[in-house]
Symmetry: C2
Subunit: 221 residues, 2 copies
DNA sequence: TAATCCCTTACAGAAATCTGTAAGGGATTG
DNA sequence: CAATCCCTTACAGATTTCTGTAAGGGATTA
């Protein structure tokens, strides 16, 4: 897992909420939070020049104005400044903005690695996103149906029914029998096997355990 | 799954939130919500006498006063009245009260089947609780460490590490090898097997899929 | 010291998962 | 109509999971 993470978020409650969630759920050696873009950038720069760079930046996009003089006034400013120095640092944006165009631009122009949309599940999504980004995949909050480069996979009712049953401990044989009773087709064990295997690919899961865990964390099951 | 559910909850936003969550996540034929205990009881009684009883009651405990004349003024009143008529109906209490003594009394005296503590995760817990109660088990929000009859099982760091690895798609063989590399003992595949099997019993899971799903929904993984 | 208990581990067999091949049928297209 | 594609299904083999039994070792207790 990442060893050094930098967090830029101006609202203190949100800021602390993120830090706490990371502390509780992940083993990170250094978690540094900042309330100002400029301060965040300074911290990043010092660490980078010292040869101990941060591995991940989690940043908001909008920052409140303040009485303090500020050079970098938005998350985009901050990200641009940081990307100009370090092309390797992973970046996850955590913002309330839901505009697909804007979000896609972040992936394309700023090479961000993840986008989490603030909301009732965003802490869970952030944790999930960190895992994904750590494994060199990109992450986008599932509720945002971006038709971007990394396509979003849809599950239909049939897939969801099967996975819910698996998550409740039914075997594929039992699910097959259940479907036959309900006169739902297709219903062979073989087809169920294939459906689930296809979902492995689509969601980057290694096996059923992994798939179920991912989907529940994304609120899809 | 339950076919008829009755909900008693006076705050409209909460009320609608519950209803919506049930509609989205479960297949229930009839979900009836009421804002007053008396109205809830009337509805229950009519259905019961008609031979089409509700199968599950989800009720708050505290109800605001109002200008309307009320006979039943609290969730306990409501539950007592309903239990006096129907001993089979399942009851889940959904309240902000966290006092273990009070909660234990509900299980002992009113024979309730589940207790969900309102909070940031309480909708998920409610959904989980409904599943549990449907399968004739009791449910209590995991953050409430009741030392009541249905004991709460603790997982240590070791158990959690194993389950997190399983949830990320590692096989038990891989986990065993990982533990050996980290010089963590015990580390045999066999012991891991047994640890996980014991957790099946403790959490009422049928297999690993089921266990992982439960624990993630409870926020433990 | 001996008896007991609990934890760890090895092993073995049944069941389930996962992956691949192949055959058949329906829908689409040229 | 023929060719093609896609979905469903059967089946088979390798791997993994799950559940027992049994043996050994350390800690506790009588």
């Amino acid at each position: 897992m990442f060893k050094k993470i930098l967090i830029a978020e101006d609202f203190q409650d949100t800021n602390k909420g993120i830090v706490h969630a990371l502390e509780v759920n992940l083993q990170i050696d250094i978690i540094q939070e900042e309330l100002y873009c400029d301060k965040a950038f300074n911290r990043f720069k010092v660490a980078f020049e010292k040869g101990e760079p941060y591995e991940l930046l989690i940043s908001d996009l909008t920052f409140k104005e303040s009485h303090v003089d500020r050079r970098l006034t938005s998350g985009i400013d901050l990200i641009k400044a940081i990307r100009g120095v370090d092309k390797n640092i992973k970046i996850i944006v955590n913002s309330m903005i839901e505009n697909p165009t804007e979000i896609n631009a972040l992936f394309k122009d700023q090479k961000i690695n993840g986008y989490v949309c603030k909301g009732r599940n965003s802490l869970n999504e952030l944790l999930e996103g960190i895992q994904e980004v750590y494994q060199n995949r990109t992450f986008v909050s599932p509720q945002l149906n971006l038709n971007s480069s990394n396509s979003v996979f849809e599950m239909d009712k049939y897939d969801i029914m099967i996975l819910k049953d698996l998550a409740e401990g039914l075997t594929k044989k039992e699910i097959s029998e259940k479907l036959k009773k309900l006169n739902i087709s297709p219903n062979s064990e073989s087809t169920i096997d294939k459906k689930v295997s296809k979902l492995f690919d689509e969601f980057g899961a290694k096996n059923t355990h992994h798939l179920i865990a991912k989907l529940i964390k994304q609120g899809k099951l």
